[in-house]
Symmetry: C2
Subunit: 246 residues, 2 copies
Amino acid sequence: MPVALIAKLERFTRLSRQDKAVLAQLASERVRKVGPHQDIIREGEAPVEINLFLSGWAYRHKHLEDGRRQIIAFFLPGDLCDHNIFILREMDHSVSTITPVTVAGVTREIFDALTLNHPRIIQALWWESLVTCAIQREWTVSLGQRSATERMAHLLCELFLRLQAVGLTEGNSCDFPVTQADLADATGLSPVHVNRTLQELRALGVVELRSKTLSIPDLPALMRASMFNASYLHLGHEGNHLDANE
Amino acid sequence: MPVALIAKLERFTRLSRQDKAVLAQLASERVRKVGPHQDIIREGEAPVEINLFLSGWAYRHKHLEDGRRQIIAFFLPGDLCDHNIFILREMDHSVSTITPVTVAGVTREIFDALTLNHPRIIQALWWESLVTCAIQREWTVSLGQRSATERMAHLLCELFLRLQAVGLTEGNSCDFPVTQADLADATGLSPVHVNRTLQELRALGVVELRSKTLSIPDLPALMRASMFNASYLHLGHEGNHLDANE
DNA sequence: CGATTTATTGAATCGACTCAATTGATGTGG
DNA sequence: CCACATCAATTGAGTCGATTCAATAAATCG
């Protein structure tokens, strides 16, 4: 069974057979199954381990006192919640599932052992955490500067490319189990306007989204429409100087 | 001369005399002075070292193709640009100064030596990078959910508290060399609306901002007005189990 | 199959924007 | 140290993108 994390990290550096075995091992221990629409960890709780997402969709979110809610990030298979999170005393946000999800827990002990024995893996994990931060910055740009349509188009591009990086697209389609209400909370738009925005993208012929499946007939056009510059995803095998030569 | 970084890291853990000496040393080598309104590093360039800000104000920002610009973060004294940035091949954003700035460069070699010899410092630096990410997430919430007034109030609270953590406030005032145009690019508002928003906060008596000085007569009120929850700044001495017992 | 969630539509409203002009500050050279 | 130039802040008026409210249609689920 392919481990999404391995596919993703290999966008950064070539891993040795041993590296991959270690990662596969990581992904097979301390595995939890969580149902849809469940909390994985709540704001205020103490983080005890790093969560590695193996399958399913989840998201980070924060609430304001009056009930408004912002989705801060989506977690896809192969994603990790913050690397090193156990340094902090308590979570400042929550993580919840969209679909049923499987996650592996990486304890501090396992992580420390990796640090000692598998520097290439640790480097790759640092890369993944830097990319996660870069994604957060790009969301800041979207929310601050892009119009509703651009914002929506940009988010769809990003999610599609991230799914592609872990082998979860087929041609120009992918599973997309996100409701319009979720998209509203992620883009800072009202649900009604999300609906109208999607209709506009459909009318332009750049997006098809129905019954939990997303198709992007013309990805370059969608990227142009949202001024999408993929450099923030750092998918260009940037760690090639660290490659295992196996 | 007090080093802002030391003050900040001590919000996380108590440092030994030796730790502080090492940090002071860091902050005294490879120091650069940069004038106001200059680029420290530009999108597309290769990052070679970590920048540690010693004095002055700067910001991260990204441009869209059509010229729109978003300020993604402010850098204050004691801040570091991404920890470990040299892993990435090229910058996906730029960093520019507001005021004259002094920065110290931390090379990969210095950082690696810290990792080997000063684990408490490295832990504290991880904490600071996690906090930076948490701030970015809170900006996502602000841009997505808060109204213009709330957003503005929230930003002012954040900057004031961050300045306070490095000893750069006096009573309820601090230097604030940011133009309304900069605030507009940070909050995703138009400059005109920033002006009106500030007038509103002035009229409410919660903010005074003129001639590059910010005063917050009633910080709790300003926090209430923006639904500010300081937990994301993780200032509560969370690493006390790592304290040096000296 | 009915019950509930999700998606869609229309109409009225509002927060924030643009454009354009003015006032006030800051700074520099003669 | 003033005069001019530049940059920053302020004001008014009109507009627009996105919102709210409310109702309906379609899809999904037990």
